[in-house]
Subunit: 123 residues, 2 copies
Amino acid sequence: METPLNIAKALADGSRMRVVAALLRHDELCVCQIVEMLRLATATVSRHMSVLQNARLVQSRKDGRWVYYRLAEPFSQPLRIWLLESLSDSQQIVADQVLLETILSCQPEDVCRQQKKRKAGDG
Amino acid sequence: METPLNIAKALADGSRMRVVAALLRHDELCVCQIVEMLRLATATVSRHMSVLQNARLVQSRKDGRWVYYRLAEPFSQPLRIWLLESLSDSQQIVADQVLLETILSCQPEDVCRQQKKRKAGDG
DNA sequence: TAGTCATTTAGCAAAATAGCTAACTAAAAA
DNA sequence: TTTTTAGTTAGCTATTTTGCTAAATGACTA
């Protein structure tokens, strides 16, 4: 793992903390699924993910056009425990868990299609 | 304790991480001792300490003109373990430990006097 | 091969943050 | 009571970071 300072910096952003929280419960998430959860521009999410990756908090796997992220291996056990313990109190994180159930019930393909539609129709 | 996001934000700065690291090993430190360790302006250190206090990572005690800081009670056990484990690798933190031995071997009074002299003579 | 699609990279504006000095507060000493 | 001292608060500038859109990349599809 990286230095605790770099890890703290990576976690010191609401959106990135939400992603890590989601990955503590869901093995693997595709970029488009994370975009759907955070409702941020894809480019913004992509940059957030690279910050997390530089801190060695997550790792990625490419499958065709899709990129999947998961928590990095190895992931510090005390860090994981601290996050699990303290994140369970957060409103936002709990809401994300619910939202993710819905998102994960579709294929990534469909999630992307929906995003595209939304983007087209928001002018 | 505060939310993990606020704690991460508080720890996402090199100087503040150094203070927390120091307090993991030294029960209590006076502001002037922290100034001596970080070599930053007193005002800057004071603001850092209030960030740490707002995140409930430290607490303060006033003794005459001196203010002493210590880790807040309660302090998350997993967080403490994670920090102890990962901070031990850091060059800077190890150097601080050595420096602190010297600083703590003087009374706070003497530390402050030295700082004043330094400030006067740096024009 | 040309086109589409998912993601990343580049470049920009707005907001947050860390450093400083100067002014203020509270306690002790002269 | 006046002055000194330790620390905090206020106000400023420089740097970093977040968000965005537009352009580039790499991989499937027609």
